[in-house]
Every structure is written in structure tokens, then in C-alpha cells.
């Protein structure tokens, strides 16, 4: 296979060939008519600002986005064909944008890698060897058991890289792999790539990056702007072509005139006026924050005078964000305190919040509001006077150049513009202090410079104090003072130049790296290892075995994730039991304690005898007698009395005269079932009364006897019918809601990229994810059955294997239903919502829980029968109390199996291996 890979150097050897590729999202052009050949066997880079189409281009090459128009050949195959994409999948590795976005945060380092190994059908032994090798090579070897979510950003990216390399790809696609990573980790990452490329010389790499200085090390570059490639060639070629010194300058001069913006020259920081007499804007005094045993911030102190730009540097997860949150009052420190302008900050203090503008690391504005609406909402909430709101919003829109996109939704905007919007929002109330948590992470250089000019203006012209964290060294150099943080402690504070001098380094970056290396334990650094080429020897493995391994990869991961969320596991297993307990006791159709009163207007021995009949049975609870018609109206109106025996005047006299007197029975019809039951009791009592009178008078009654036989439930106990029916309800709703988030969660967190970019098929993916839920739901079935048998004492008369088998099919169908909803929806919220709404109504009403399906009106019956519940209910009731075996339930089993299959097929059709 690898022999036919085109090699670098040879003429016409391209790893990817694009011609006339155009891609649109809605009406917006992401790529317009791109024609580009990416050389093989080398490190190829895509550079350009945010939102120019780099990610789209990479996703198209990786095959995770559907090609709209044009041609793309990757590894010599036309990837418009699905067969070609299938062939390519095991040879391509794709690492999407975002820190560890394709990793599962609750799984450990090793488990994550195991998962990827399995996705490529690797056997245990091969997997172990490869993981060992990769962990050694990346320096992750000391932490195989740490959950991926607890790794620092740099380590996450290393782990992502390991996952990408696990199958020895011929083409490695990296989308901004170092965005948001500290300089030391970034340097280590590229060194690692270099080492790996030395060992795997066949591998081609395509990287997108916004860091121009990183691009210097690439063999070949394509500069992109506005959906087009504006230049390509080696870095030297690009520089000499434009006569620029650095790539950054070269890039800017390659831009068309109108995109270049005014050349404002380098960003300069004018000197700060001397400190005033006022108290410092921010004082942190011995701040410490602990989360459980983990100390996130350890005894941090600093003072920031008013108007200063204070930079905050450090690797990911070192406590920067936590410290900043304590500055804003979002978090209460465990020890120490924050003072703003000399006043101690309290979480509940609304006044101080008006003085702070805060920008969190992730985009945290409302995506459902337009740019203008977001600004207006904040203007209102920050108590800007009503007459000044509109001018202020207009002013900010102009200041941050958001005028043109005021009506757009934030989600449709490139990251750089979104960050500008966040800053605009943070400054709308003209705060005295700005706290900005990595505001420029992922923003391209041009936009970053513009951003900084605004910051400097705010600081110097308006005296705003700015507390900013960043990964960019050139940004750190623009700060008045910076502090370096590592593992919760501040290592250095001072003016950038001062620190460089103190550390004896040439640049700030070196000083920083020097500082971090001094702190880092020896074993964390990567060790040189022998990268044996584990040639893909998969000939011995059948296609079926590989398919099963891939399916198992998802089952195993889903299971681990479920086990690591104990609350969910608890709800999934205990919820059904609690539901069964309350329903088993709570739903009963034995109508007791009906409130009853007499309204005796006759007051004769006969009327009293009749009234006594009614009060003699336990189903009626006697209430004080009714004395007047108004009393009757009032007491029935409040619902205090549900049934009233109204005996008119002259009852006794007429009865004695054989005149068939009338009695009135008032029944509260607000709840028909109760009314009917009350009525049937009352009729029985009146018959009894007639019999008694007849006996006294010696009249012969009718001689028909009624023999009533209660079949299947001689004792006529509600539980005997309700418990098996509740199993139907519970095993429908809980498994469905459990699996409803399975697929859509991957879509929301971005791990769906693994499904799109690896050889796993839709069926393997869906079945793999469904399997753990089926097992949990089936376990639930056994627990519920046992509870019904022994707690509620429901007899079990039928065939247990048959019920167990049908239940297994049933939970396959119900989890399948959840997964189907999950495949269609885009957010977990709507998946849960849709599953609940769609499943509850037919299951509760039309599946035989309360009303037998046979007694439903046609529409209800049809709706009921189009869900699996109505077919399962006869099976559970039948095997419990009717002595059913396989013969009676064959049809039901087949129909339920049909539902399971149907849901799977529909889910497969709803899933897409490629995004639009």
C-alpha cells in the first residue's frame, strides 16, 4: 500500500490536489475556486488570518466535509467517491481545531489511545506496543492514567497527536494544533513532530496555523485570504517574492490592498503617566484557591496601579483563569482577599461589578442574540442611563468596527471578530478595570494588533487598568508589567525587559521557557526513543474481526464514560426502581373513601334504612348530613362531598304504598372514573336495599344469578396488572432518554470528528454506542422483574426465558428510539426534550398502561401500535399473570424486533460521515 504513495521530490508527486474547489455555508463563501497542489512527503502549512477557509480546506482534504464543487485528490484518490474515502480513512489522520477536542475528557491517557487503536482495528498486542512507543516519544509516559480532561493544554495536544499517529498514517492533518498552548509546550510539540518525521519519513503533514513564526519551519506554505490561496511556495520563496524580512510582513504585503488595512506600523506602547495618589486598582493579597485536595492557586499576591496593562503568562491549567475569576468575584478565594481601589471585593457586591469588564476564555456571549442585541442587553444590565444607551451602543459599534455586522448572529462570525465583540461588550459600561482571560487566543495577527491598539488606547487615554492573560510573547512585551505563573504560583513579576535581563535571556520567550524548565520535573520532558516501524500487518485479521474491534471501541468508551459519571449511572439504575415503587403503590383503581353525605328530606324509618345501606360499606366515608339545598351546592362545589343521596319528602310513604318513590343520587362528575365507580357502588347498594324490602314484604325477585370470574388476577389486585405494565413504561422512557444524548453529545463536544475521520462505519458506530445502554436497560429489566415478583408479590406464571428475550429486544428498540432522536437533533437539550415529549405521550396513554389498547379509539390505537410499548405490554402482562410462553408472543417478539431494526436503519440514514 505504502509503495504507491507519491514521494516528495519526484515530479508531480502531490499528497493532495485540489482544483476549482468552492465551499459555501449558507450564502457565505468559505472557499472560492481554490486550485492548489500540496506536495507530498514534507511539512506543508496553510497560513492566514481567521475565517479565511483554512479549516474548511483541511476538513475537505480529511474527508470529514462533503465536497460541494470542484475536485480533490488525496493520496491519489478522488475523494468525491465514498469508496475512495473508505480506502483513505486508515491512511489519513485528522486532528481538529481546539484543545483536545477529539479526546474524551473522562478517559485516561491510555484509554483514549486504546480507543483510537481500536478504531483502526488494531489487536491488543499491537496497540500496547504502539501506545508504549508514542507515550515514550511524547513524554506522556509518566501519566498514562491521568484523565485527559485534567491534562494541561500542551499535554492535551500531545495526546491528540498520539491519537492521530496511532495508526501510522501516510497523511497527518493538523488544524491549528498549537493555538492556546504555552510557548514551552509549543516548542516541545514542534520538536516532537520533527522527531516523528525523521522516524516516519513517508509521512506527509499538512498544518494550519495562525502563528507566523511557526510557519517559518515548514517546508512549503500556502497563504490564504478570503477563501482564496494568494501565494504558495517555500517560506524563503515567499519572503524573497515580497522582499520582506519576516513571514508576517510577507503575508501582509501579499494581501490585496483593501484587506491590508491602514498600515499603522508596529504596535507601540506609549509610556505611562506617573502613578497618581489613589489606591492601586487591583490588589491581590495572598490569594489561595483549593478545589478539594487540589490547590489551583497558591498564595498569589500582586498590586496593579491604575491605568497599567498587566500581563499574566503561564501554561494552561496553571491557575491563571482561577486567579482571574477571583478578581471578578466569580469565585471566592479559599484564603486571602482581593481589593479593588482599596475596597475588599465580595461576591455579592454589585457596585464593584459595574467597575469591572470581564472577558472569559471561551466565547460566552449569547449566540441566540445578534451583535447589536448583545450590546443592548449589556448596556441595559450595566445600568447605562436610558437616553445614553443608544448613542453608547452606536459608539461602541463604531469603535470596534462592528457596524456592518450589527445584525449578524455571533456564531456566524470568525473567531477574531467574536473576540472583538466580547471586548466591546466588556467595555460598554466604560469600566475602570478590564479583566481579559486569553482574549486573543486563536485570533490572527492582524486582528490581534488591532485588538491591542484598542487596549492601549483604553489604558493610556482613559486610564483603564487592564489585567490580561496571553500566550503570545509579542503581546507580553507590550504590557507594562507581566507575571509568570506556574502550577498555581507566581514565579516572576516585573517589566518584560527587566525579566529578560534577570534571566539572562535573549528574548522574553527564552526567559519564560527557562523559567518553566527550572520548575519542570525531569521526567516530564520527552525522552528520545526508538520508533520502531510497526508496519501495518493486518493481513492476518479478517474484515469482520476488524469491524467488531471498531464497534467495541465505541462500546467500551461509552461504557467507561458512563461509569465515570456515577450520578448518571445512579439515576439510570435506581431511577427505575424508585419509579416502580411509587407507581406500584400509588396507582390503584380500588376506589375507597369516597366522601358521601345524605340529604334526607323524608326522615322516615325507610329513608333511614336506605341511608344506612350507604354508610355500611367501607368504600363510602360518611360526612355530616346535608341540611339544605344550598348546603348541597356549596359542599359539592368545593369537592368536599363526591356523592350525595338525596331522599325527597314522601319517600317512606310512597314506598309503603308501593308507588315506586324516587331518590336522587348526586355524583361529582368532574372525574368520570370516580363518578362511575361511585355510581356502580350505589347501584349495588340500592339493589341490596330492594332485596331487603322484598324479603320483608315477601315478594319474589328475579332468579338470574351472575357468576363473575376475574381471569388472570383472581384477587383483582391493581399491582398484578400495574407492575408488568409499569415495566413497559419504565423500560421505554429511561433507556430512550439515556441513549438520546449518546450521539448528539459527540456532535456538541466535537468528538464526532473521530467518527468522521476514521474507518468506523455508521452501523458500527451506532451499535457500538447502543450496546452499553442495552446492557444497562436489560439489567434494569431483571431488577424491576424481581421487584415485581418479590416486593409486590405479583405471580409469575409464564415463561421467563421468553420474557427475558422479548425484554432484550424491547430495550434494543427503546434505546434505538433514543438514538434515532439523537441522530436527528443538534443539541443535547433538544434531544432530551424531543425524546421526552415524543415518548411519554404514546407510552402513558396509548400502550395499555391504564386503558387496554383494545378499548382505545382508532386514532389512539394506531398511535399506540406504532410504538414498541403497546406490543411489549401484552408480553410482560402475559408472562406474569396469564401464563404466556413463546407461542402466544411470537408476533409481539417479531414486531418489537422490527422496531429495533427500523430505528437502527433510520438512525444510519440520519447519520452523515461527512458534514455539509
Amino acid at each position: 500500500m505504502r509503495a504507491d504513495t507519491p514521494r516528495a521530490g519526484a515530479a508531480g508527486s502531490w499528497i493532495a490536489e485540489l482544483s476549482g474547489v468552492t465551499h459555501r455555508y449558507g450564502g457565505v463563501h468559505a472557499l472560492s475556486d481554490v486550485t492548489l497542489n500540496v506536495p507530498a512527503g514534507c511539512m506543508a502549512g496553510l497560513i492566514g488570518p481567521d475565517g479565511v477557509g483554512k479549516s474548511t480546506l483541511l476538513a475537505l482534504i480529511a474527508g470529514v466535509r462533503r465536497l460541494q464543487s470542484g475536485h480533490i485528490q488525496v493520496l491519489g484518490q478522488d475523494i468525491a467517491k465514498s469508496a475512495a474515502r473508505r480506502d483513505n480513512a486508515p491512511r489519513v489522520a485528522y486532528m481538529p481545531q481546539g484543545l483536545g477536542r477529539n479526546l474524551s475528557p473522562t478517559l485516561s491517557v491510555r484509554e483514549n489511545l486504546d480507543f483510537f487503536g481500536r478504531l483502526f482495528g488494531q489487536k491488543a498486542q499491537e496497540r500496547r506496543a504502539r501506545i508504549e512507543m508514542l507515550l515514550q516519544a511524547t513524554g506522556l509516559a509518566p501519566f498514562p492514567d491521568r484523565p485527559a480532561g485534567k491534562l494541561s493544554g500542551g499535554m492535551k495536544q500531545k495526546l491528540s497527536l498520539c491519537s492521530a499517529l496511532i495508526h501510522d498514517p501516510d497523511l497527518l492533518i493538523l488544524d491549528e494544533p498549537t493555538t492556546g498552548v504555552d510557548p514551552l509546550s509549543r516548542r516541545q510539540f514542534w520538536e516532537l513532530i520533527d522527531t516523528l518525521r525523521e522516524r516516519m519519513p513517508n509521512m506527509s503533514v499538512i498544518v494550519a496555523t495562525a502563528y507566523m513564526e511557526e510557519a517559518e519551519r515548514f517546508d512549503w506554505l500556502a497563504a490564504m485570504n478570503d477563501g482564496k490561496v494568494i501565494a504558495s511556495g517555500s517560506p524563503e520563496a515567499l519572503r524573497s517574492q515580497t522582499g520582506a524580512e519576516t513571514l508576517e510582513q510577507a503575508f501582509v504585503s501579499l494581501l490585496p490592498e483593501e484587506d491590508r488595512g491602514e498600515d499603522q506600523g508596529p504596535v507601540v506602547l506609549p509610556p505611562r503617566p506617573a502613578d497618581g495618589d489613589g489606591p492601586p486598582a487591583i490588589e491581590a493579597l495572598n490569594l489561595t484557591k483549593k478545589f478539594g485536595d487540589f490547590t489551583a492557586v497558591d498564595d498569589v499576591s500582586f498590586t496593579i496601579p491604575e491605568g497599567e496593562i498587566f500581563g499574566f503568562l503561564g501554561s494552561n491549567g496553571c491557575g491563571k483563569s482561577t486567579t482571574m475569576k477571583m478578581m471578578t468575584g466569580l469565585l471566592d478565594p479559599t484564603e486571602g482577599e482581593t481589593r479593588l481601589f482599596g475596597e475588599t471585593l465580595r461576591a455579592s457586591d454589585m457596585k464593584s461589578r459595574l467597575r469591572i469588564g470581564y472577558m472569559s476564555q471561551n466565547f460566552s456571549l449569547y449566540t441566540e442574540l445578534t451583535v447589536r442585541q448583545n450590546l443592548e442587553l449589556h448596556a441595559e444590565l450595566y445600568e447605562i442611563a436610558p437616553d445614553q444607551r443608544a448613542p453608547r451602543v452606536a459608539e461602541v459599534l463604531a469603535e470596534f468596527e462592528l457596524d456592518e455586522i450589527a445584525a449578524s448572529m455571533p456564531e456566524s462570525l470568525p473567531l477574531g471578530i467574536r473576540q472583538r465583540l466580547q471586548l466591546a461588550v466588556a467595555t460598554i459600561h466604560e469600566p475602570r478595570i478590564l479583566i481579559l482571560d486569553e482574549p486573543t487566543s486563536g485570533v490572527d495577527p492582524v486582528a490581534r494588533d488591532a485588538f491591542w491598539r484598542t487596549l492601549i488606547k483604553l489604558s493610556r487615554d482613559r486610564g483603564v487598568t487592564i489585567f490580561i492573560s496571553t500566550h503570545f510573547m509579542n503581546e507580553a512585551e507590550r504590557c507594562d508589567r507581566i507575571s509568570l505563573m506556574h502550577a498555581g504560583r507566581v514565579l516572576e513579576v516585573g517589566a518584560p525587559a527587566e525579566i529578560v535581563e534577570r534571566r539572562g535571556a535573549a528574548t522574553l520567550e527564552e526567559a519564560f521557557i527557562d523559567c518553566l524548565q527550572a520548575e519542570q520535573p525531569e521526567d516530564e520532558a520527552s525522552a528520545p526513543v526508538d520508533l520502531t516501524d510497526y508496519g501495518a500487518d493486518r493481513s492476518g485479521q479478517g474484515a469482520l474481526a476488524r469491524s467488531f474491534t471498531r464497534l467495541w471501541a465505541y462500546s467500551w468508551r461509552e461504557t467507561l464514560e458512563f461509569l465515570r459519571d456515577p450520578i448518571r449511572l445512579f439515576f439510570a439504575l435506581v431511577g427505575p426502581l424508585i419509579l416502580m415503587l411509587t407507581m406500584g403503590y400509588g396507582i390503584s383503581f380500588d376506589v375507597d373513601e369516597l366522601s358521601f353525605a345524605t340529604f334526607d328530606q323524608d326522615r322516615t324509618p325507610e329513608s333511614r334504612l336506605l341511608a344506612e345501606q350507604f354508610t355500611s360499606i367501607k368504600q363510602f366515608t360518611e360526612k355530616p348530613e346535608i341540611m339544605a339545598p344550598a348546603d348541597l351546592d356549596r359542599r359539592m362545589g368545593t369537592g368536599e362531598v363526591a356523592i350525595v343521596l338525596d331522599i325527597p319528602d314522601g319517600f317512606g310513604r310512597k314506598l309503603r304504598q308501593g308507588q315506586e318513590p324516587e331518590v336522587l343520587l348526586w355524583v361529582d362528575g368532574a372525574m368520570p372514573f370516580r363518578a362511575q365507580t361511585a355510581r356502580s357502588y350505589a347501584l349495588g347498594l340500592l339493589n341490596q336495599f330492594s332485596d331487603e324490602i322484598r324479603r320483608e314484604t315477601g315478594v319474589q325477585g328475579s332468579s338470574v344469578n351472575f357468576e363473575t370470574r376475574y381471569l388472570f388476577n383472581q384477587a383483582f389486585k391493581s399491582a398484578n396488572a400495574m407492575v408488568p405494565s409499569m415495566m413497559m413504561l419504565i423500560l421505554m422512557l429511561i433507556p430512550a432518554i439515556m441513549s438520546a444524548i449518546s450521539v448528539v453529545r459527540e456532535k456538541e463536544t466535537g468528538t464526532i470528528a473521530n467518527f468522521q475521520s476514521t474507518p468506523v462505519t455508521r452501523v458500527e458506530f451506532l451499535l457500538g454506542k447502543q450496546l452499553p445502554y442495552v446492557i444497562i436497560a436489560w439489567t434494569s429489566f431483571w431488577m424491576l422483574g424481581a421487584m415485581g415478583r418479590w416486593v409486590f408479590g405479583v405471580p409469575f406464571t409464564g415463561s421467563l426465558p421468553v420474557l427475558a428475550g422479548i425484554s432484550l429486544l424491547y430495550v434494543c428498540a427503546t434505546t434505538g428510539f433514543g438514538q434515532l432522536v439523537s441522530s436527528f437533533t443538534r443539541t443535547q437539550v433538544s434531544a432530551v426534550f424531543a425524546t421526552a415529549v415524543l415518548a411519554i405521550i404514546p407510552t402513558v396513554n396509548f400502550s395499555g398502561l391504564i386503558v387496554p389498547v383494545s378499548s382505545l379509539q382508532p386514532v389512539g390505537r394506531m398511535v399506540g401500535l406504532s410504538f414498541p410499548g403497546a406490543w411489549y405490554q401484552p408480553a410482560s402482562v402475559g408472562t406474569f399473570v396469564k401464563g404466556f410462553g413463546g407461542a402466544e408472543l411470537m408476533i409481539n417478539a417479531l414486531v418489537i424486533a422490527g422496531f429495533a431494526l427500523l430505528y437502527l436503519v433510520l438512525s444510519v440514514l440520519a447519520m452523515r460521515k461527512q458534514e455539509a
Binding site: S364, P672, A721, F833
Partner: protein, 373 residues
């Protein structure tokens, strides 16, 4: 104070926009309040209506024919006459709730003054209907036999019983199920809508942003409840008027204004409960698994499906203390059917409001602690 009110309203507008933006949710809300309400109300209920019956006639006499003829709607469906074997099989498969078996020589025996028995076989797994169904069947057949033998003698019954069903004269189930289904829809939608609005903010990180703004936790909480409350209340009232009253022809006896007030209290307390549940869960997966049992318990044990009286006393007490739904059912029955005034339902309204207040207090107390993590 004014500022606080304004903040709440502004955030409410924001929440409403978020709801408007979610098309899936809008479609589902529409579905629930129109199609689902109509379907459920129409399909059937616990009272006896169209009960499936089979007759095994081994007598083939005029009387047995008359008896078979007598079984008809609205209580029973038109009976199928089957052989004993077929009837037994069909009943086992759940096709008939009642099977009436008329033995050979039934009429002859009665004429000759012997005792004769009619057998009524009841599928007792249909607990909701079997008991009443059998009682009605006996009544019906007994009357029919009497009429057959003494066609002109009206003196068989000593007492003439006149049934008066108050508030729902024909015991039309639609009247009842439609309103109960509305309650069910309101419960499902409000719980999930309110709860997920909180979880979504946490998952998207926007809650952090809200917390640094000069807004207090209660303003955020109120705005979420208000927004989901307004949407659900408006659509449920629209559904009551358009679907229940107009399309299905269910008369509403009481004051609509009073009903809307009570429904508003219910929606607020259920919304608070939704937020409370959300504050105990970290993600949508947990929330979904927690909210489903809550919905089912609130609905099935509200007194809307089976009478509260038939629940064990302890469970009835628990439900009345922790769940607003039994109070809402009582309230809705009183106002919509009995036409009760405020004084009669004030207790229920108070109970719902008190529960809502407790839920709210807990949510607000937990808000910062839960969300800051």
C-alpha cells in the same frame, strides 16, 4: 428595586429570544398543545366507554338474542358473538375485557322457574375498567331479563333511582382527559424548558458571563422562570380555548381569569422545580434521567389518572406536600367544571405558591455555589 425588576425583564426578553431560536422546541410545543392534546383527550380514559365485549351464546334463544342486542354503546362496543374456544383465546390475547357467556337452555330454565346463571368473564388485568365494566354489565343484563319476562310490569324496582352527575352530566371523558392532558403537557414542557435553560448556560459557559454582570442570582432565576412560564402559559391557555373549548366542544364553567391565575402559579412552581432539578445535575444526560421519573410521578400520581383517594394515605400525603400537581388537578377541576370561585380554590393556589416559593428559595441559595464550579 426598580433596577432589579428591569434586569429581570431584560433577561427574560433574552430568554424568550433563546426559546424562539430553538426551532425543534417550538415545533414540539406546538405539537403537544394541539395534536397531542386532541389525540389523548379523544382516545379514551379510565371510565367505561366502548369497552370491548364478546358474547358466547350457547342458548340461541330469543332471550339470549335480546341480551346480545342490549349490549351496546356508549358503555360497550358492539359485541362479537364467538364460540367458547375462540372467545377464551381472544380474551387471553387481550382482545376483549368482558366475555358474557349464556349457557344452553338459559331461557328454558328461567321459564320453568329454575335458577339459571349468566357468566361474566373479566380480564382482570385491565384493572381500570374491569370492575366497573362488570358491575354495569350485570345491571344491564339483569334489567334486560326482567324486562323480557315482565314487559308491562314496572313495579319490579321498588325504588326509582335518578342519577344526577354534577358538573359533567354525561360523564364525558373528554372533559376530564383534555384538561388533565393540558396539565401533563404543562408539566413536561415547563420542567424541561426551565431546567435546560440553566444547564445550557452552564454547558456553553455563558453563565460565567452572567455572574460577573451586576445582576443578582434571583434576577437570573426569575427571568428563566418567567420566560418559560410565559411561553407555556400562553400556549396552554390558547390550547384550552382553541383546542379544548372550541375544537372539542368542552364547556368551561368557571372564570377563565381565575384559571389563568392558578395555572400561572402552577407554571411558576413547576418551573422552579425544573431549575431545582437542574441545579442538582451537571449535564443534560443526568438531567434527562432525573426529570423523567419526576414527570411520570407528578402526572400519574396527581389524581388526574386515578383518584387520590385510592392511593395509600402516606403516599397521598407525600404527594400533596412535595408535588404541586395534585393541587393543580383539584384546582382545575373546581374552576373549570364546578365553576368554583376564588374562595374555594384559594387553598390549592396557596399550596402551589408555597411549594414554588420553597423550590425557588433553594435554587437561589444554591445558585452561586453550584454554578461557579
Amino acid at each position: 428595586m426598580m433596577q432589579s425588576l428591569f434586569n429581570t425583564l431584560r433577561l427574560t426578553v433574552k430568554e424568550l429570544r433563546a426559546i424562539r431560536g430553538d426551532k425543534v422546541m417550538l415545533v414540539l410545543i406546538l405539537y403537544v398543545f394541539t395534536v397531542a392534546t386532541w389525540m389523548v383527550s379523544d382516545a379514551g380514559s379510565t371510565e367505561i366507554r366502548g369497552l370491548s365485549v364478546a358474547v358466547v351464546d350457547e342458548d340461541h334463544s330469543l332471550l339470549s338474542f335480546r341480551l346480545t342486542e342490549a349490549i351496546r354503546g356508549p358503555l360497550f362496543s358492539d359485541p362479537h358473538v364467538l364460540s367458547p374456544k375462540a372467545a377464551a383465546e381472544a380474551q387471553t390475547n387481550g382482545e376483549y375485557v368482558l366475555v358474557v357467556s349464556i349457557p344452553p337452555k338459559f331461557e328454558q330454565d328461567l321459564r320453568s322457574g329454575k335458577d339459571a346463571s349468566l357468566m361474566v368473564l373479566i380480564d382482570a388485568t385491565a384493572v381500570a375498567q374491569a370492575g366497573n365494566g362488570a358491575a354495569y354489565m350485570q345491571q344491564l343484563l339483569g334489567d334486560e331479563v326482567t324486562k323480557y319476562f315482565q314487559p308491562n310490569d314496572s313495579g319490579a324496582a321498588l325504588v326509582d333511582v335518578v342519577m344526577r352527575n354534577r358538573f359533567n352530566p354525561n360523564l364525558t371523558s373528554k372533559w376530564f382527559t383534555s384538561v388533565m392532558q393540558l396539565m401533563n403537557s404543562v408539566t413536561i414542557l415547563t420542567l424541561i424548558l426551565a431546567g435546560s435553560s440553566l444547564i445550557r448556560e452552564r454547558e456553553h459557559g455563558t453563565i460565567e458571563h452572567v455572574l460577573v454582570m451586576p445582576v443578582r442570582p434571583h434576577e437570573i432565576v426569575f427571568s428563566k422562570i418567567l420566560a418559560s412560564g410565559i411561553v407555556i402559559l400562553a400556549s396552554s391557555v390558547a390550547s384550552l380555548l382553541l383546542v379544548v373549548q372550541w375544537a372539542m366542544g368542552v364547556p368551561v364553567a368557571g372564570s377563565l381569569l381565575l384559571y389563568v391565575c392558578g395555572a400561572a402559579i402552577y407554571v411558576i412552581s413547576v418551573g422552579s422545580l425544573g431549575l431545582l432539578l437542574a441545579s442538582f445535575t451537571q449535564n443534560m444526560g443526568q438531567f434527562g434521567l432525573l426529570v423523567i421519573p419526576v414527570i411520570i410521578v407528578m402526572f400519574l400520581l396527581s389524581g388526574g389518572i386515578t383518584p387520590m383517594e385510592s392511593m395509600p394515605a402516606w403516599l397521598r400525603l407525600v404527594m400533596k406536600v412535595v408535588s404541586p400537581s395534585p393541587h393543580y388537578v383539584e384546582f382545575a377541576q373546581s374552576v373549570l367544571y364546578r365553576g368554583s370561585g376564588l374562595s374555594l380554590v384559594a387553598g390549592n393556589m396557596g399550596a402551589m405558591a408555597a411549594m414554588g416559593a420553597v423550590f425557588l428559595a433553594v435554587v437561589i441559595a444554591r445558585f452561586r455555589k453550584v454554578l461557579a464550579n
